[in-house]
């Protein structure tokens, strides 16, 4: 792999940037692999990378029905934070944030992880109670999160209107300074490049259409649009389509798939320094390095695979944004899009073995799995390599829905993303 650096770029500048190579090859699928991962999103590519890098498995393929990063990885609003309430969640998401902090260097690819701070606004007494509980729990779990008064919040984010006459006045905010955003495509490309360098075959335009199991019930091969490929270790990281894929192996998952939308404004000069989320009035906003305001909110109310949500959902989101930031009413929507997110009953993911030997799954990230990308990838790889979960993902089983050991962040705080 040709290393990237400012110096390399400078050198290349003198010969017209001619010497750069493909970030990843476009290999034909081999007849068999030691491990296969379905889904070339950040999670799947990352898992392949860690399998190759940390577990010595080199004969790996990542199968992708479309193009690398074309799923939710390339569609999300990139909010990264780890100030989750429960011990299990804090451990999981902070594991990811720690990996994020060095990811550009690890991958030698600038994923633009920007710790510009994620601030959650409290609009009523209940919000205050909930967020303070988070702040306490996070401190005790070694996760940074601090309570700001409305005035302090305004200093951190000047566009905030903290007047008491608002319909939803801002009573304060919880701020995670280590939280922020990253460049979504770069994450997929960076992992793809690094995995490819370790020999991983990334096979695009290769849809998995069946999973074959042997006489013992264990995974044997996958049927794809590019033919049969054998493997005994199959990891599924197909986000919104996971239940479809697992269905091919006869495994039913407690997942529902919903459209989730996001939108950006036209680019403007820096006006918005951090990420602001308001769960009470359902909206969140940040500004990308390119200058676009990046805005999102909740899912549609109905399940669907259409990759587009209702106009009323984006309207409601913009109502909330205009209410919080009335100066943005004149800003204009440039692009709106949707992705399909896979939601579990407790809004926490599944990273686990399945009842089928050799079949592993990483899913249920719903509206908030981008932030977990390196962590989820690392844990899926670990689970596949060792055939048992890491302590961090041990609670994230499928069986918890049967047994009741839920990790219900959504119920606890009505916070998504």
């Amino acid at each position: 792999m040709r290393l990237y650096s400012g110096f390399a770029l400078l050198k290349a500048g003198f010969n017209g940037q001619k010497n750069w190579q493909s970030l990843w090859r476009s290999p034909e699928p081999k007849p068999a692999y030691d491990a296969i991962i379905i889904g070339a999103g950040g999670h799947g590519l990352g898992a392949a990378y860690y399998l190759a890098k940390q577990h010595g498995i080199r004969n790996i393929a990542v199968l992708e029905k479309g193009w690398v990063g074309g799923g939710n990885t390339g569609r999300n609003t990139t909010i990264i934070r780890s100030n989750y309430l429960f011990n299990e969640s804090a451990a999981l998401y902070d594991h990811a944030v720690k990996l994020w902090e060095n990811l550009s260097q690890t991958l030698n690819y600038n994923v633009m992880f920007s710790q510009r701070g994620v601030m959650m606004l409290a609009h009523n007494v209940h919000d205050v109670q909930v967020f303070k509980r988070h702040v306490h729990a996070n401190r005790c779990n070694g996760v940074d999160n601090e309570w700001l008064s409305a005035e302090q919040a305004k200093v951190f984010c000047p566009p905030l209107n903290i007047s008491a006459n608002m319909r939803y006045p801002i009573l304060g905010a919880a701020l995670q300074r280590r939280g922020g955003t990253a460049r979504h495509d770069a994450v997929a490309w960076g992992y793809a490049r690094a995995a490819d360098d370790l020999g991983v075959d990334i096979i695009e335009n290769c849809e998995v259409i069946g999973i074959r199991r042997d006489a013992t019930g264990a995974v044997e091969a996958v049927e794809t649009s590019r033919g049969l490929i054998r493997t005994k270790k199959l990891g599924v990281s197909a986000s919104g389509h996971t239940s479809v894929v697992l269905g091919m192996a006869g495994v039913r998952l407690p997942l529902e798939s919903y459209p989730l939308q996001a939108l950006v404004s036209e680019p403007v000069k820096p006006v918005f320094p951090c990420v602001v989320m308001s769960n009470t009035i359902h909206a969140y906003i940040s500004q990308s390095d390119k200058g676009e305001l990046v805005i999102g909110a909740g899912t549609d109310a109905y399940t669907s695979y259409t990759q587009r949500g209702g106009l009323h959902i984006s309207s409601h989101t913009l109502e909330a944004i205009c209410e919080l930031f009335p100066m943005f009413r004149r800003m204009r929507m440039l692009r709106n899009w949707g992705g399909i997110v896979d939601v579990t009953p407790d809004r926490s993911p599944i990273i686990a073995k399945t009842p089928v030997p050799g079949l592993y799954v990483n899913c249920g990230w719903g509206t908030g799995g981008f932030k977990a990308t390196p962590g989820a990838a690392h844990l899926l790889a670990w689970t596949m390599a060792k055939d048992e979960p890491h302590t961090i993902n041990a609670p994230y089983t499928i069986e918890r829905f049967r047994d009741g050991y839920l990790i219900d962040e959504a119920a606890a705080a009505a916070v998504a993303h």
Binding site: W67, G74, A413
Partner: protein
């Protein structure tokens, strides 16, 4: 300097109305009918902006929504500033103020242009390859720098005072685009007597007809418009873009109402969102002209040939006097002919095709225009304005020696691309037609048709796509605004980005505010050429809403301030205001939190209110509680299935505290339910849970239990609820009541009855959320305030004291009553919060029952509701603080619970707290630690009741 480039033949210019405007502080003149772009061109101004990355000087390329370069900020005042507006779409008005963007210190001398010097070192995606060392420098240095140079205009910083509105409409036929094809379609539908809505983004109907020189175009347009206006069922919306195509033929339109006015009146609606549901949609969106990609194609003065025709014919403006044309489509010849007629010199027509034939070509030959075919462009000269163009013949596939020709304007055209954006948004399938070099609509999924050039181009009107043959790729722009060159696309493909989605994301081609209107197809052509694959194999990026950028304001519409979410107030709200109550928001409601007297702090007021309730009597507004009337022969059975409690045996006239679980066994809501008759219950919910509970009940009733005959009616707003709580409660209300014997034995705790109070019908419940003797008096909402005042009056002698939600919280915490959402958080079972006594154990089923037998629900380590007493009884714990078995206060710690409620209890003269602690009920008496950043506070675990443990007070 006045309109040196203006003639008198602009068809849609009103030469009698001179308008003055300023651009970058300089005053210019234009006419009514001008756009900002046409007026500036008329004044010879071509330099309008700077590009995103290299800050190259840029001019006007197009004449409409496809303009990539000429973005300006239009300012009315500080609050009403709109950045990134296309000058080609700004209608001129008297006094218009426009500013150029993304330059410093000014448009002519922009320091950012130095980036051009290092353009070799900052190709597409360069930022992915660098800025990684040292690690911290990204956030501290590189990123802030990048952000600073990125972005175009400056966002407004003050609240936008303008109004936006919304409308819903239905029609038989919605026609999008009022050009020749759209008007014809609308006319045809109108003649059939159908309800027609036709919209066009421009300020007048006509589409490309407006750009034609011939008289027939104008006349036929006039006639059509006249006829169309005679049909009463036809609605014509100009200045209206159809920006989005939503499922089931729902189209979003954005109508601009005041942008073109010099002084819109305060309160006028600026823009309106239309949500139109159409039986049939006709897309007559026309076609967009394609630029050509050659070195130096971005200099001010390089313009689309069709745009030049528009400026000339519609606005009477010549883009220049000495014009070179680079053409890949016959339309370029037409432009040349018309401009020559208007007095311009045509320096050269360089046709990139080898043997062009056609009507206009013939005419051009006859007119003696200097035509050269089989050409390419090797570069252009000039800085703030194009000065010359170098053209070279292609000989045997190679670029031959070039000629440099002086000119002040370069017109280019590669032909037309059908506007299929909306069709594609509707999820229709597009088909590549190589003979047209275009994607055209094929199968559609909605009831729609495409007409005119939106449906495809005539014959083999293919023009050219992609890049012209060239050697210097670094100034051959594909996406002007985002500064994407052919070299960038080369690089992207070399780096393995072969899917068009990747190329778009890596180079950002097509992601600018023109949404790729000029760049997408050429990008496809270039990639197809590099990879030697046919265009359809490269893929096609998804067309996304909106078609052109639309204001956030229209989506918000009227939903602002108090209309953003309705504010709900109780019938006694005005009274509370008069008493200086401090309010809190609880879901949509405003609830009185406390009633400070004089200069009391909240704590002082709350202490006084609590003491009054315990000592004599308090008055509390409980109207916000949700109320549902449950009626029907199966009402009791319905409640049996919904609640964890059993209801069959509840006798008429009695109340019971009910607990609702979700399907997963966790507590969802609670409230007292009273039985008014065998088939009628008065049910209460929490304030925040009212709608949720009703929805859940309806859901079960309508989908799971269709066998039950039960009807649910929300009565939350029908009843004003006045809680009278305290030892003197009965004494106070008894004199006002008739129809019910409320003596202690006739109407004991948990009774419900109907009677009158002060002559008004009432439902009286003897219930208590304070632990004192108490009543909740339900009266029709209209009488709420009057009855409240009557009780207040009657209570004066007893020291009756109004109290708010804060005192209510303290009082109930003293008794260990839970608040849903405070003690519970969606993860607590009834048993966790000490409510397993409420479960009807003999019932065959209820919502959540199955879930409650799951393993985890029985685990001894579950968090349970307990009381906490601090060793120092004056220390009030912080709600949300975490609890640990040891005092060690550095992570990682073993957290076993958290404080859910914590108050200073004036009644007890000490602090109290409720908490959820793992296995807490088995550890009463134990010392635990509440962890604060500064210290671990020791606490003793107790039962969660601090006052009147035996519960005698309620029975007083």
């Amino acid at each position: 300097m006045g309109n040196a480039f203006r003639n008198k033949d602009g068809k849609y210019i009103d030469y009698t109305q001179i308008l003055r405007f300023t651009f970058d502080g300089k005053i210019y003149q234009g006419y009514k009918g001008d756009t900002l772009a046409s007026a500036l061109l008329a004044n010879g101004v071509h330099l309008l902006g700077r590009s995103f990355k290299y800050h190259r000087p840029r001019g006007i390329v197009a004449a409409g929504a496809d303009e990539p370069n000429a973005l300006v900020t239009v300012q009315r005042d500080h609050a009403r500033t709109t950045p990134n507006v296309k000058a080609t779409q700004v209608e001129l008005y008297e006094g218009l103020i426009a500013e150029s963007q993304n330059r410093w210190p000014n448009l002519r001398f922009d320091v950012g242009a130095l980036n051009t010097l290092i353009s070799n070192f900052i190709p597409a995606g360069f930022y992915y390859k660098t800025f990684m060392w040292p690690r911290q420098a990204w956030g501290k240095f590189y990123e802030p720098f990048i952000r600073g140079v990125a972005g175009l205009g400056v966002a407004p910083t003050e609240a936008d005072p303008d109004r936006y509105s919304q409308r819903f409409a239905h029609c038989d036929v919605l026609v999008v685009g009022a050009g020749r094809a759209g008007l014809a379609a609308a006319m045809e539908a109108a003649e059939k007597g159908l309800r027609v809505l036709i919209c066009d983004e421009q300020n007048m109907f006509g589409g490309s007809l407006l750009s034609n020189a011939d008289v027939q175009s104008t006349e036929s347009l006039l006639q059509t418009m006249e006829k169309l206006h005679q049909y009463s069922k036809v609605t014509c919306l100009k200045r209206t873009i159809a920006f989005g195509y939503f499922p089931h033929n729902m189209i979003g339109l954005c109508e601009r109402l005041t942008e073109h006015l010099p002084n819109p009146a305060k309160g006028d609606v600026r823009e309106r969102l239309w949500q139109v549901r159409a039986r049939h949609v006709i897309l007559a969106t026309g076609a967009l002209e394609r630029p050509l990609v050659f070195p130096g194609n971005d200099r001010p003065g390089v313009m689309l040939a069709g745009a030049a025709r528009t400026y000339l014919n519609r606005y009477g403006v010549l883009p220049g006097k000495n014009i070179a044309c680079v053409v890949g489509h016959d339309n370029g010849y037409l432009a040349a002919l018309e401009l020559q007629q208007a007095g311009a010199t045509i320096a050269v027509i360089a046709d990139v095709r080898t043997k062009p034939v056609g009507r206009y070509i013939e005419q051009a030959r006859q007119a003696g225009l200097p035509i050269r075919s089989g050409m390419t462009v090797t570069g252009t000269g000039g800085y703030r304005r194009v000065r010359n163009i170098s053209v070279a013949p292609i000989v045997n596939g190679n670029i031959d020696a070039s000629d440099t020709i002086r000119c002040d304007t370069v017109l280019m055209t590669g032909g037309y691309t059908p506007s299929v954006h909306l069709f594609s948004q509707s999820r229709g399938k597009l088909e590549w037609k190589s003979e047209q070099n275009a994607y055209i609509p094929s199968q559609s999924t909605e009831n729609l048709s495409s007409v005119g050039s939106a449906a495809g181009l005539a014959g083999n009107d293919r023009g050219v796509i992609g890049a012209l043959p060239m050697t210097n790729k670094s100034t051959a722009f594909v996406d002007w605004q985002n500064d994407v060159t052919v070299k960038d696309i080369d690089l992207a493909t070399r780096e393995g980005f072969h899917s068009i989605e990747h190329i778009k994301r890596y180079t950002t081609s097509g992601m600018a505010t023109d949404q790729g209107k000029t760049s997408n197809i050429n990008t496809l052509g270039i990639v197809s050429n590099i990879l030697q694959k046919p265009v359809p194999e490269i893929g096609l990026t998804t067309f996304r809403m909106p078609y052109t950028p639309v204001s956030f304001g229209i989506f918000a519409g009227f939903a602002r301030g108090d209309l953003f979410d309705p504010v709900r107030t109780t019938p006694m709200h005005s009274w509370a205001i008069e008493q200086n109550a401090v309010f809190e928001d609880v879901s949509l409601w405003k609830r009185a939190r406390y009633f400070p007297r004089n200069s009391e702090s909240m704590n002082e007021a709350v202490a006084r209110e609590c003491l009054a309730v315990r000592a004599s009597c308090g008055l509390f507004d409980a109207s916000t509680l949700g109320k549902i009337e449950v009626v029907g022969p199966d009402a009791a059975e319905f409640l049996n299935r919904m609640y964890i409690n059993a209801w069959s045996k509840l006798t008429v006239g009695k109340c019971r505290y009910g607990v609702l679980c979700r399907e997963d066994g966790f507590v969802m809501d609670d409230g007292v339910v009273g039985r008014l008759a065998t088939d009628r219950f008065h049910l209460t919910t929490t304030t925040g849970g009212a709608a949720r509970v009703l929805a859940m009940m309806e859901d079960y009733l309508q989908t799971e239990w269709q066998d039950l005959q039960v009807w649910l009616t929300s009565t939350t707003e029908q009843w004003a609820v006045i809680a009278v709580q305290g030892p003197r409660a009965r004494d106070i209300i008894a004199p006002l009541i008739s129809g019910i014997d409320i003596s202690a034995h006739a109407f004991p705790h948990m009774s419900i009855g109907e009677g009158t109070i002060h002559g008004i019908t009432m439902r009286l419940m003897r219930v208590s959320f304070t632990g004192e003797l108490g009543y909740e008096i339900n009266v029709p909402a209209d009488h709420g305030r009057a009855i409240w005042e009557a009780i207040y009056e009657a209570g004066q002698a007893h020291g009756i004291t109004p109290y708010g939600t804060e005192a209510m919280h303290v009082l109930r915490a003293e008794k260990g009553y839970v608040i849903i959402g405070q003690e519970t958080d969606g993860t607590a079972t009834p048993d966790d919060v000490g409510l397993s006594w409420a479960i009807g154990k003999a019932k065959p089923d209820y919502v959540g029952k199955r879930a409650l037998i799951r393993q985890a629900m029985q685990a001894p380590t579950r968090k349970q509701l307990v009381g906490l007493l601090t060793l120092d009884d004056q220390v009030v714990l912080e709600e949300g603080a975490q609890i640990c078995a040891t005092a060690a206060n550095t992570p990682p710690m073993q957290l076993i619970g958290h404080v859910t409620s914590s108050y200073y209890s004036a009644t007890l003269g000490r602090s109290i707290a409720l908490a959820m602690v793992a296995g807490g009920r088995t550890c009463y008496g134990k010392t635990l630690y509440v962890l604060m950043p500064s210290a671990a506070i020791p606490v003793t675990l107790t039962a969660p009741v601090f006052y009147d443990e035996k519960g005698e007070q309620v029975n007083g």
